[in-house]
Subunit: 234 residues, 2 copies
DNA sequence: CGATATGTTGAATACGGTCAAAAAGTGTGG
DNA sequence: CCACACTTTTTGACCGTATTCAACATATCG
């Protein structure tokens, strides 16, 4: 049984957390909470003083646009930190749950005060943020400079790696609750086109993604198509 | 004359730095260096122990792809931090200079050690990283979910705001050394198309971008087209 | 001035988007 | 267990934004 403090310090770079660890939240005024699928934990544009640590489940961090579309920035997973903002003021993104989602909620002030008094914690948080940077950067590459099959392959490989790191994926196989619509909003494409690429992947026996389950048949070829290099996730 | 330490602590969120401040680097084993345009300060994939603080000039932070294309992640400007990576290991992006570029170079170990001993520094660095996150997120929205004129307008407004913050832009007018090719690599489009949109902007008296100078004629309309909200830059 | 980089324009093409409808899956309550 | 409503996936036909290719013009710089 770890305290939240130990939990935060234990996992390098925001995702390393062994499967067997269970976590308790008696630190920093943290509240352990759980949300059903489809809940919105915090709204873009709203003042918000909480920071979230994901315990389990899939989150969706996104920016909504005036025309009603949205760009999903990331899918926060076990061990990820959401909502550490540079200044006071409204949030620039919304956080929703894609599945049942368990989180620690911490007043940001408590976290920054703890960082003031404990340099190691500050370094750890900085590392977590730097890793998020790398993930966002890769999503930017996906949206900006990779064609449809490449970006889809890349995202599915990223998710496999991130889930493995926190112990909830076996090699080439994992549960993914994202809809094709959500995949499209992550990658900057349309639902219809995601659907077409996925069925191409199936027809060419590359990867099967159905009923919330991802099965990589030819992982080597997939890595080659995607130009995937896991280094950025370390 | 500020020390680097004061310099870092003084500017909120990686960009706030008054025009009159000059800065000296007698801290953390920092080396002040200057590079001519087109230099590559660090290479994607290479081991690298330096962290960079930009003093002046325009940097280009990008990821190169197997097919020779690249996605520019950001244009580091005065006050920005580059290269704080979550773990040891190779860099996932390259840093080049678009203009003459002056930086502080600091061994990462020195910085993290200082953060260990000085909680306030850790908080500051975390805030800088969080702001970079917000900027990357917005670039992702540009690449993924905005059409050509919207994304171009948005980028030009972002640059205006960021340059203003560090005192090197007047309202609606600033020097921008980026080529159309570089703009394209930031926004995930082609040079030709950037060119066409820019000339549309000129024809409709919205914004003039020529010879390295940006002049916003109808800034209000531009903000409306872009759906620009500077909040994410705070 | 000549060499090279950057910007501009036109025509043809393609990738992915749009629109629309149907099929399959999921969940709920009777 | 089935009926019903709703969400998600699938498919087809058509369209449009942005790309590609190619040529030429204009800056920039040594």
């Amino acid at each position: 049984m770890l305290t939240l403090l130990e939990y935060i310090k234990a996992h390098p770079a925001g995702g390393i957390l062994s499967k067997s660890l269970s976590v308790a939240g008696e630190f920093l005024g943290a509240t352990a909470k759980s949300y059903g699928p489809g809940a919105v934990l915090c709204h873009q544009g709203a003042e918000e003083d909480r920071v979230f640590f994901v315990k389990s489940g899939w989150g969706l961090l996104y920016r909504g646009l005036p025309n009603g579309e949205r760009q999903i920035l990331d899918t926060p997973l076990r061990g990820d930190l959401v909502g550490f903002r540079s200044a006071q003021g409204p949030r620039f993104a919304s956080l929703a749950s894609a599945t049942e989602l368990s989180v620690f909620e911490i007043p940001k002030k408590n976290l920054t005060e703890a960082m003031q008094n404990d340099g190691a914690l500050g370094v750890k948080i900085a590392c977590v943020l730097a890793r998020q940077n790398a993930i966002l950067a890769e999503h930017l590459v996906n949206a900006g400079r990779r064609d449809a099959q490449t970006k889809l392959a890349h995202l599915l490989l990223e998710l496999e790696d991130r889930l493995s790191t926190v112990g909830i994926a076996s090699p080439g196989s994992y549960e993914c609750p994202l809809t094709q619509h959500e995949l499209a909003d992550i990658l900057g494409m349309t639902t219809v086109h995601v659907n077409r690429i996925l069925s191409e992947f199936r027809k060419s026996d590359l990867i099967y993604f159905r009923h919330g389950h991802v099965d990589m048949i030819d992982r080597t070829k997939l890595i080659k198509i995607a130009g995937f290099d896991r280094e950025y996730l370390r």
